[in-house]
Symmetry: C2
Subunit: 228 residues, 2 copies
């Protein structure tokens, strides 16, 4: 198919597709002449993945390219590739070799997991723990004792569901790690609302909050933020 069909199929503007082509996110079609190239279903899928990574996972074009490159050329084993992909995921952490990550180390030791400062995710965890502290809500032992096992159970399922075959496995693992994160986050937010709503209702008309809790529908995003 021609590029105009990609535009139709994906809804992404032509200029943007050309931009992706230029930036190396989208492989060029097979040139059939100087002014014609043939694209396939793989291109359609690729475009959707690009949008998923940039719009929902929140990757920059630069980071998305890194992730896609890992999927395209999985020269290393799954474990190494996954580590590299994680390094491309937010939060962007400045990798300072020979650095210690004390908060992350303490957490990992409590969880009985290996602490390797070479893992990008360790630096990411350190930053996240520091941010929680800064916000006045550090990750205390009680919370870790809850988060740890549940998150681990989720991760066990994730890994167990990775297909056997190597190439497919890497793509599945990399994309699955990235793309299910927003799902988990959204589920937690909704669970917060659900649990909070139930408790409020149960407690009978707003004892803790300053005002009456309107049992539901309270958060309709109707307060349009004013633009600056």
């Amino acid at each position: 198919m021609r590029i105009s069909e990609l535009v139709e199929r994906t809804g992404v503007p032509l200029a943007t597709l050309k931009f992706y082509l230029r930036e190396g996110l989208l492989p060029a079609g097979e040139a059939t002449s100087a002014t014609r190239a043939e694209y396939g279903e793989a291109h359609v899928r690729r475009i959707l993945v690009i949008r998923a990574l940039t719009e929902t996972v929140g990757l920059s074009v630069q980071k998305a390219r890194e992730v896609l490159a890992l999927i395209d050329r999985p020269e290393d084993d799954l474990f190494t590739t996954l580590g590299r992909a994680i390094a491309a995921l937010p939060p962007d952490v400045t990798p300072v070799a020979t650095q210690e990550y004390p908060r992350a180390r303490a957490v990992l030791e409590k969880l009985g997991q290996v602490y390797d400062p070479g893992f990008a995710a360790v630096a990411q965890l350190e930053q996240a723990l520091a941010a929680a502290e800064s916000a006045g809500i550090p990750l205390d032992d009680a919370r870790l004792a809850v988060y740890g096992p549940h998150i681990r159970a989720i991760a066990e399922f994730d890994v167990a569901s990775i297909p056997r075959e190597a190439a497919a496995a890497i793509e599945y693992a990399v994309l699955g790690t990235a793309v299910h994160e927003p799902v988990l986050i959204a589920l937690r937010r909704l669970a917060h609302q659900d649990v909070a709503a139930r408790r409020l209702r149960q407690a009978g008309a707003g004892p803790r909050a300053s005002k009456r809790p309107p049992a539901r529908g309270g958060s309709s995003g109707r307060s349009r933020p004013k633009r600056t």
Copy 2:
């Protein structure tokens, strides 16, 4: 203290603090004269929170201002305020009223939770589910059956740990929701690596990654925290 001391205490450049002042993220100090203002510990804390929200949670300055405004002026009840705060969190969803979110609806029904299209998190979940589909890894029932209960358990703990007093509760809930997300994400990524590493070792594969440290038994350090 003067503004230069805020610079020292937080490490944030003066020009940036002035920017935060301008943008209304940081409240002005108490002016003691035309060219002097007094800042306090609250300002130091606020700056740290701003950095946590922007750098680690990934909020734009605009969104961070919205979240901070909710904490500063919690005019509504906890439930409503939390809903509004969630609307400011990524991924940015364009709220189209009167829209249906079929994927999110299906998921929430399977979880037995209320489906309210007015919740920003519902639109966020819809987008996340669509992105997962686009990437070729949809959230199937088996996965949901795992994610759902574990995430809910986490959320139950979160809500249970919210303090009683109203004003404190809102700040705690809003910041806690936002700031623990990166922690959960990082823990999942590390759990992936840990689980994958264990399986690889178990499968008799040789040591692939050059810098992987030796394995440690999961039981030795488990829940036997003794940090410095």
